[in-house]
């Protein structure tokens, strides 16, 4: 009569990053077909004080690798944010997906009560595993994937909701 924390998190997160990979590949193909410098898309933003496409991808990656590690009681791995090309961003997502898949269900399954503390510029956020996953990790993951999609759409790349959702049902 319930689902495990692993089930509530990992399969959906892997799929979100796979869908984001497909989106990035379509943006890269769009740029190439029109002979537009790919960096124009990679550096595009929806507002001057919002992050560009590249950073949206990096934060989506950080969100889920941090989520999996903290729910399993481990220290999140540090990934350098060096990516400035589509192949590099795609590789970052592939590395993140491999990391998510490296967790055994039992490492995350019982984490709903695990205390999770996130340090921010303004102080500490205190969660348990359940509130961390449902109120922080998942909303943040989908925020950054959606914003990456929105940057691409705003810049004329032909994408639809199916690219965001992937194979549903």
């Amino acid at each position: 009569m319930s689902i495990s924390m692993y089930q509530a998190f990992i399969p959906g997160a892997v799929r979100a990053l796979e869908n984001l990979t497909d989106i990035l590949n379509k943006v890269a193909a769009h740029a190439e077909a029109r002979k537009i410098d790919p960096a124009i898309f990679i550096n595009a933003r929806l507002a001057p004080d919002m992050f560009p496409l590249s950073r949206q991808v990096q934060i989506a990656s950080d969100t889920v690798k941090g989520g999996a590690a903290r729910l399993a009681g481990e220290e999140p791995p540090k990934y350098d944010d060096f990516e400035t090309t589509f192949p590099e961003l795609v590789a970052r997502l592939a590395k993140t997906i491999d990391y998510l898949r490296s967790f055994k269900p039992a490492q995350i399954a019982g984490s709903e009560e695990r205390p999770v503390v996130i340090k921010t510029r303004t102080g500490e956020l205190n969660f348990n595993g359940q509130s961390y996953l449902t109120g922080f990790v998942l909303p943040n993951l989908y925020f950054h994937v959606t914003t990456a999609y929105a940057i691409a759409r705003h810049n004329g790349v032909e994408l639809g909701k199916k690219d965001y959702l992937g194979k549903a049902g």
Copy 2:
């Protein structure tokens, strides 16, 4: 060693709609302070073939009321999509939040194996409760809340990630 489908869905969905309500109120206040017609924000889009702000709000509402009803084995209520002002959109969200809160945990708690069929223009999507929630309802909910936020940010409304996440931790 697990969380219920209710816990995985309802508290986070209520908070997402509460945060979206706060965002809409800030957009309305921004328009009023600058004597800009609120309809300019309500009809704003990130791309010509994306939905405007009003429709993003309506679909966020539809996504979660459909989600709660289907997981509970009920027929989703129909809400007319008549909203063209900020007070109307805020009322739509309040009505949706009330609807979500009307469910008792036991109505949704054991729905992970319940078959869910969604009819689309191109055919049927077949889920069980768990894949419907984690692969369709939640990604769609956060997609539309994030896109509403992005439309506001792109149009100069002063918002930050905290407005999207609400009170975390």
